[in-house]
Symmetry: C2
Subunit: 163 residues, 2 copies
């Protein structure tokens, strides 16, 4: 399961293995783009980074956070460009894709939709049984959306089985 | 010169040959996506369509309209996803890219920034000496942004020569 947290300067990623209840981190990090290059070349850097990740880990599914646009429309529009590129790389590799709002991710991971960043970091550390917190907020958010999707998928499978 | 008018349902394109004053249409059309498929697959259809165009016409430059978000933020965000994919395909093929606002395009092509769609269609027909109007608004807008860029580039070259 691959989680992606899009951003034009930093795109976080997290790869986990999960049965829905038990999660294990395989990789996490940030694709940083060169702030001195043009926006389209930054999009190319992000696409290349994601393609490399997909090739290496061959995830069967991916989860991406929805664009939150209440804060700043210009920032949201930039992010949407990056998100378009991320969705394209997933579609190219036939990776099934799910989308979650920040609220859904926090509710799933922390149990509270308005949780602070630090609470998300602590829960991600705890759920993945990591020796320490994931330092990068972007990588941590990517892991959180991956955990959210893994948990949801398992729940819907269980509900399906009960029906 | 390639002009692109992004949209998740219809992405218009126009390819012209130009010395900055005299323009000739080589191709124009619309990449239509299947409304029944998921958004990420539509992005893939658009990327494939643009890549095919770039391969066929090998444009040395491309012009894309900026996202206009005054109307509807949700629509603008969707468009920004498509635009991200378009910019990526240009960066992948090392096609130089320029961006113009709708105001700049209309000012350049019609001479009036608040021109109606029909005025743009008429001017595009006239400037390209076409026997009839370009029926598709999306293809016409793509041709308009290509003409705008060709004109601007020539002007800046001339200014450079005079200096």
């Amino acid at each position: 399961m691959l989680g992606i947290d899009c951003g034009s300067e930093r795109t976080g990623y997290g790869v986990i293995e999960s049965d829905g209840g038990d999660h294990r981190m395989l990789a996490a990090g940030v694709i940083r783009t060169n702030s001195k290059t043009s926006f389209e070349l930054r999009l190319l850097e992000i696409a290349s980074g994601l393609r490399r990740l997909i090739l290496e880990h061959r995830p069967e599914a991916a989860a991406v956070e929805e664009v939150f646009y209440a804060v700043n429309v210009k920032t949201a529009l930039k992010l949407a460009h990056v998100r378009g590129v991320a969705l394209l790389t997933l579609a190219e590799a036939s990776v099934a894709m799910a989308e979650y709002s920040a609220l859904e991710v926090k509710t799933s991971v922390v149990g509270y939709g308005r949780a602070e960043k630090s609470q998300v970091q602590m829960m991600v550390q705890s759920l993945l049984r990591l020796p320490e917190m994931v330092a990068s907020e972007d990588a941590c958010d990517a892991l959180a959306v991956a955990i959210c999707h893994a948990t949801r998928e398992a729940t819907s499978r269980r509900v399906g089985a009960v029906r």
